[in-house]
């Protein structure tokens, strides 16, 4: 007798979805082992974590704040991936969006009517990310250059340029040598809600999720994107314009990442400084695929991951564990959940050898 994996021929039954809780339980068990090794009661650690991420209105609001750039970056990567374009460059697009929007906030507020300042900043952020994404898109569409490499490499270019700006020409002269630009004028700060740090970016992220869902479900363009991603041969057969689609999809994908960047700067930091490129663009890749490229799922996964991160910080503070434990736990959970995805496509079959 032996057990092997077999591709599912029939769609999942109700019971088939049990792999989801099963993989989460496996992850928690793995995490418990981890806490056990460093001598911490796992139950207590998990409780702290849950409280930290979701335990109170304030804690939950921090989770949403953390989730905001994840939602936008997840949608960014998710839309490109829907067309099977590997946009690994959301991080760089986020940074360029932050830079472009900050430029408007810092130098444009004197010229732009106050009612239009925030829209102008957001548009600049979107365009900054879009332009940055169009570089690999153009190279792919025209010269068939692999977008994985180019979009990834451009991340480093963007990050170094960001550092150049706040260490150099854009550094706050009154900042006593502190690396960062001057604080944005008040009119350039994104609205915050409920007395928490939740800002306009969350609304934009949710709106973007609805729009992308609508685009993919109801429009011809969305349909073409799905077909190109699912089967390029069939898309060519159906005479779809691949070049055109690569450029537009990458522009929107980059724009969403750029929006994430400017929302972090104009919503949280109020200046361009260190801490903008903290890996949200890369986490967007994980979020997008965990959410199976579906906008609604991307939002939910972002919030859960945000809670995991905020809760992890809480564990770190409350139980005095090194921050690496909380990161290792995040890794364990992601690993198990991703591994569990196998069961969406495959099922166990037990074979008995005939003698």
């Amino acid at each position: 007798m032996r057990v092997r994996l077999k591709r599912r021929l029939r769609p999942l039954t109700w019971a088939g979805h049990l792999f989801v809780p099963a993989s989460i339980i496996a992850a928690l068990a793995l995490g418990a082992l981890l806490f056990g090794v460093v001598g911490i009661n796992p139950a207590r650690a998990y409780l702290e974590m849950l409280i930290g991420g979701f335990g109170s209105f304030y804690n939950f609001s921090e989770t949403l704040v953390r989730a905001t750039p994840l939602i936008l970056c997840g949608l960014s990567v998710g839309l490109a991936s829907k067309m099977l374009i590997w946009n690994i460059g959301a991080e760089g697009q986020l940074v360029m969006g932050g830079i472009a929007g900050s430029g408007v906030a810092l130098f444009g507020s004197a010229y732009i009517p106050s009612a239009l300042l925030i829209p102008a900043i957001l548009i600049a952020g979107f365009v900054g990310g879009a332009v940055w994404a169009l570089i690999p898109a153009f190279l792919k569409a025209r010269l068939k250059v692999n977008e994985i490499i180019t979009s990834l490499m451009l991340n480093y270019v963007a990050i170094l340029y960001l550092e150049h700006l706040y260490f150099g020409p854009w550094r706050d002269p009154a900042g006593r040598g502190f690396p960062g630009t001057a604080m944005f004028p008040d009119g350039a700060w994104l609205t915050r809600f409920f007395g928490t740090r939740i800002h306009l970016g969350l609304i934009l992220g949710l709106a973007a999720a609805v729009l992308i869902w609508f685009l993919l479900s109801y429009t011809r363009w969305g349909y073409e994107i799905s077909v190109i991603g699912a089967n390029l041969q069939a898309a060519l057969y159906a005479r779809m314009n691949i070049t055109h689609n690569i450029l537009w999809v990458m522009a929107i994908s980059g724009g969403l990442a750029g929006l994430a960047g400017i929302c972090e700067t104009a919503g949280i930091h109020y200046r361009l400084q260190q801490g903008l490129a903290v890996g949200n663009g890369y986490l967007g890749i994980i979020v997008a695929w965990l959410g199976r490229l579906q906008p609604g799922a991307i939002v939910i996964i972002s919030i859960l991951l945000g809670g995991l991160m905020v809760g992890g910080d809480q564990v770190q503070i409350a139980l005095h564990v090194p921050s690496s434990i909380s990161l290792a736990l995040q890794g364990a959970i992601l690993f198990c959940v991703l591994a569990g995805q196998v069961f969406r496509e495959y099922e166990w079959v037990i074979e008995t050898e005939k003698v």
Binding site: Y223, V227, Q233, A234, Y237, E353
Partner: protein
């Protein structure tokens, strides 16, 4: 050294092998005997089940029924490695080599053994093998530096290094030039003379006659016959009519109720069309023909003689090298919307397997079913429901994924989609390949019905299909027109099999 070649106990015996894929029976009750020290050719059209059968023998798939014996012992392979352990190795059409590795590294890749990579020892063995079989391969070269022919010899070397008794080669000549093919045959004979067996998969008749000791012909998943090549060669050594006939089917015409065609004006004109293939060679050479309204015009030939390139050029998927394609006496391009195309590869080109039927239907119809930027999904769904009923498609619902339909039902859906385009010209490429008799007849009848409404260009390698449907037949061989025959010219029809093999009867 004397080799005792045991003719009574076959090295490989396959009995009653069956393999089904969703909707397609790839192998049906196949029996096959491979003796020690023979080159055994598996001959058949694309989709006849040759590669599936060999994937079963080399452990890639497991059979649904039937038994495999190696040297008289019953075996069941779980993986290609299992098969290799029993001395059976397969060289696939797409080489499984790592471009950046050296020949020696590729050869030991995946082999069980010590962790240490003893380059010198491996290179020595590889060189010895290479010299012994005349492969002339430098074991230190990197794969990307080698030509396709050399890469193939690396694959052979890899199998010899693993000391296989049975070497399966899946269409090894498809990628080679004529000189390289000659060289490959010399190597194959040398391997055979050492007492190893070679299973040679191909659909090219001349090659089979040149190199085989035994020939097994497969058609639609069944063994048609196993013969020695001497029996098939004509007196002048040319391909016999019989072999071609076995491969493409006997000329029994199914009654599909065809009336003589009633042609009107010209619909499609092809003038001196030349098209290049994937490797830059001229795949289609100055072909001219025309399709009239109300006729079924067939392009008949063994696969790989330029049909694919011709169709891709006609449908705008491949650039034209020279010549002209005229649609209703207008230059093509403007009229492409009115050309419906049923592609040969329905799974990869004709549909998106992981999308529901409705979305598959929209593939070529999306412009007709749009309001502003929005898709009219409800209207498309209605059209799909009507097609499912009209064409008798066995589907549980229109939200099913294309993958869940059987091959025949999927093809009916693609056909229904093509008809709903209300095409002036329908290009149908191998429309019934791999389908069972029932689905085949349904599709033939539907194509005949469409004939009233426009012209049909049928591309097929199946003689039965062509003779059942076509009004005029163009036989293609190596990218050139052998002849254009009317279906009423019975004398010439008798020679179609020979023409397909590239033989013109001397007058």
């Amino acid at each position: 050294m004397s080799l005792s070649i045991d003719k009574t106990h076959p090295t490989i015996l396959m009995k009653g092998i069956c393999k089904r894929f969703p909707g397609v029976v790839a192998n049906q009750e196949i029996d096959l005997r491979i003796l020690k020290g023979e080159i055994h050719s598996l001959l058949g059209e694309n989709g006849a089940g040759k590669t599936t059968l060999m994937n079963l023998l080399s452990g890639v798939y497991q059979p649904d029924a039937g038994e495999i014996f190696v040297n008289g012992k019953r075996v069941s392979f779980r993986s290609p490695r299992d098969a290799l352990d029993h001395g059976i190795g397969m060289i696939h059409q797409h080489f499984q080599l790592v471009d950046n590795f050296t020949v020696a590294e590729n050869i030991v890749l995946g082999m069980p053994g010590p962790v240490r990579f003893d380059a010198a020892a491996i290179e020595k063995t590889v060189s010895e093998l290479s010299n012994r079989y005349g492969l002339s391969i430098d074991s230190r070269a990197r794969i990307w530096e080698l030509s396709v022919g050399e890469q193939q010899r690396v694959e052979i070397l890899r199998m010899l290094y693993r000391n296989v008794d049975v070497l399966i080669m899946d269409e090894p000549t498809a990628v080679l030039s004529p000189q390289e093919i000659e060289r490959l045959f010399i190597i194959m004979r040398r391997i055979r003379d050492e007492g190893r067996s070679i299973i040679f998969i191909t659909h090219k008749l001349e090659e089979v006659l040149e190199v085989s000791d035994y020939i097994t012909v497969l058609r639609r998943g069944k063994v048609m016959s196993t013969v020695r090549p001497e029996k098939l060669k004509g007196k002048d050594g040319a391909v016999s009519r019989e072999l071609a006939r076995m491969m493409v089917g006997r000329e029994v015409i199914l009654e599909v109720g065809k009336d003589p065609c009633n042609t009107k004006g010209r619909l499609l004109g092809v003038e001196k069309l030349s098209v290049r293939g994937d490797r830059g060679e001229l795949a289609v050479k100055e072909i001219s023909f025309s399709v009239k309204v109300g006729e079924i015009f067939a392009i008949l030939g063994v696969a790989g003689n330029g049909q694919r390139e011709l169709v891709e050029a006609l449908t705008g998927l491949r650039p034209i090298e020279s010549g002209r394609v005229l649609l209703e006496d207008d230059d093509m391009g403007a009229g492409l919307e009115r050309v419906a195309y049923i592609p040969e590869d329905r799974n990869r080109r004709g549909c998106v397997l992981d999308m529901p039927l409705v979305e598959n239907f929209a593939l070529t119809q999306r412009r007709q079913f749009t309001r502003g930027p929005f898709m009219r999904w409800k209207d498309i769904a209605r059209e799909v429901r009507r097609s499912v009923a009209d064409f008798n498609i066995a589907a549980a619902g229109i939200d099913m994924k294309a993958r869940q339909l059987s091959g025949g039902n999927l093809q009916k859906l693609i056909l229904a989609r093509a008809f709903s385009q209300k095409p002036f010209l329908l290009i149908a490429e191998q429309p019934t390949r791999g389908l069972d008799i029932g689905a085949t007849e349904d599709i033939w009848k539907a194509i005949l019905r469409q004939r009233e409404k426009g012209g049909i260009l049928l591309i097929s390698g199946d003689l039965k299909e062509v003779l059942s449907l076509a009004d005029n037949i163009l036989v293609i061989f190596r990218g050139q027109v052998m002849d254009i025959i009317s279906c009423e010219d019975e004398e010439k029809i008798g020679d179609v099999g020979l023409l397909m093999a590239g033989v013109r009867r001397k007058q």
